[in-house]
């Protein structure tokens, strides 16, 4: 559901997320798995009772750890912990399907803030639209991928942040079993596991060190993934008290733009540009391929 649409209307990857959600939550009567939901409730109660913890590093710099971090990590721990037998693969699939429905509630809350501040959004239109082009900065990582020994995988890895819509675009263009698709799958899986936690800490640090405009932080949190957007907004809201509505409005609207416009930037700008960079740089700095002998990215 993290999705607008793919130009190839009959493509095999179209609406795969919607179908996945439907299959998971329509067939399996997800509400019946009460232990999953009771577990979530317990995680949330624990997280809210601990509350936000601020660890001061220096006079001006502090790490903020928010309840949202506890719930992601506890959720993962509960899945992995052996003694907890009632959270297994089946529950993870239900949680994943349900989560795609709950994205809607998150989006609705952001949309209400956007509607409230609609004139401000129009005023800041140029910044909101142009910052979408800032996502092209991922291509700068391509040389590092080449130096680490990736070949064509690096094209899939660095053309975008590698969330669901980007995976679909790459699979659609290069085919399911291509090295480019393997690359984007790797980014997708790692992003799924560490992306939310990583971005939350990244934002916390950036807020302390980078003297950027509060609205710029808000807009940047719309990276095109609802969970990473959610994790990035948290520290931003905490850093600028009194600007909640504006930050939510910009973050929500920018995430929406990443879904609608971002995918076209990836198709028409990012992928061709990444390929050009690859063809230019690979003969110069390419290393011996690591993928044949080690399968490091599969």
């Amino acid at each position: 559901m993290e999705w607008i649409f793919i130009p190839n209307k009959d493509g095999p990857v179209e609406h795969i997320y919607r179908e996945k959600t439907d299959k998971r939550i329509l067939k399996k009567n997800p509400w019946r798995d009460y232990r999953l939901h009771v577990t979530v409730l317990i995680l949330v109660v624990i997280a809210e009772l601990i509350g936000t913890i601020k660890i001061p590093l220096t006079k001006d710099v502090a790490i903020t750890i928010m309840p949202l971090i506890y719930t992601i990590i506890l959720g993962l721990v509960f899945y992995l912990a052996k003694p907890i037998t009632w959270i297994q693969r089946k529950q993870a699939r239900i949680a994943e399907g349900a989560m795609m429905l709950f994205i809607g509630v998150l989006i609705a809350k952001l949309a209400v803030s956007s509607g409230q501040s609609i004139s401000l959004i129009f005023e800041m239109g140029p910044a909101l639209i142009l910052q979408e082009l800032g996502h092209l900065a991922t291509i700068l990582v391509l040389p590092i991928a080449l130096l680490l020994g990736f070949k064509k995988e690096s094209i899939g890895m660095t053309n975008s942040i590698g969330r669901e819509p980007n995976v679909a675009v790459v699979v659609d263009k290069y085919g399911f079993n291509s090295p480019e698709s393997r690359g984007v799958f790797a980014i997708f899986i790692i992003g799924t596991v560490i992306g939310t936690i990583f971005i939350s800490f990244l934002v916390t640090f950036s807020l302390s060190f980078l003297p950027l405009h509060p609205y710029a932080f808000a807009m940047a949190s719309g990276v095109g993934s609802a969970s990473m957007n959610a994790a990035a907004i948290g520290p931003t809201l905490a850093a600028f008290p009194g600007l909640e509505t504006q930050i939510e409005a910009f973050a929500g609207f920018s995430n929406l733009l990443s879904f609608c416009v971002g995918i076209y930037i990836v198709i028409f700008v990012a992928i061709p540009l990444t390929e050009k960079m690859y063809n230019w740089l690979e003969p110069k700095i390419g290393r011996e391929s690591i993928t044949n002998k080690k399968g490091d990215d599969e």
Partner: protein
């Protein structure tokens, strides 16, 4: 291979019933978290969550029923923006109750489901190796900083005062 391609099932009354129950469960958990974390009165927050759930439900339903090939995210965003639009008869009511729900309360519950859901990718994650992890971290950082710096430059150039 990541588990992203799967079968499908058509929408039915049964399906809508499942969505409603899931949204009710999600609302109750969020309201409890919202009360513990921010002390917002439970009845007002319940109304707020009901509004957000109905918007979601309508958006998800439109995605599946309307012939347009558009994501529910777009429908939900448009409905939310229109309902809260200054001057709309609904705006005062919607804004009052929805403001009782802190965004972070929703995020905290949402990410609990994300955490459990991502456990499924753990084995694949472990198999991937440090090189791919380095690239992922750099790609996420590049996306974030790229957008933040461009936004900052445009905001400064267009003369938006620092708040």
């Amino acid at each position: 291979m990541p588990d992203i391609i799967d079968g499908s099932e058509n929408v039915s009354v049964h399906g809508i019933f499942n969505w409603i129950l899931l949204l009710v469960i999600f609302s109750i958990i969020t309201v409890i978290g919202n009360y513990l974390g921010y002390k917002h009165p439970m009845t007002d927050s319940l109304v707020g969550m009901a509004i957000l759930s109905i918007i979601t439900l309508v958006g998800v339903w439109m995605e599946r029923e309307l012939p347009l090939n558009v994501s529910s995210i777009l429908y939900i965003s448009i409905i939310g923006i229109v309902l809260a639009f200054p001057g709309m008869p609904t705006s005062e009511f919607v804004l009052y109750y929805v403001s009782q729900i802190e965004l972070l309360s929703i995020v905290t519950v949402f990410l609990a489901y994300v955490g459990i859901g991502m456990g499924k990718s753990w084995d694949e994650f472990k198999a991937l190796g440090w090189r791919a992890i380095v690239i992922t971290v750099l790609v996420i950082a590049a996306t974030y900083y790229g957008a933040a710096i461009v936004a900052h430059i445009v905001l400064v150039l267009t003369g938006v005062p620092a708040v």
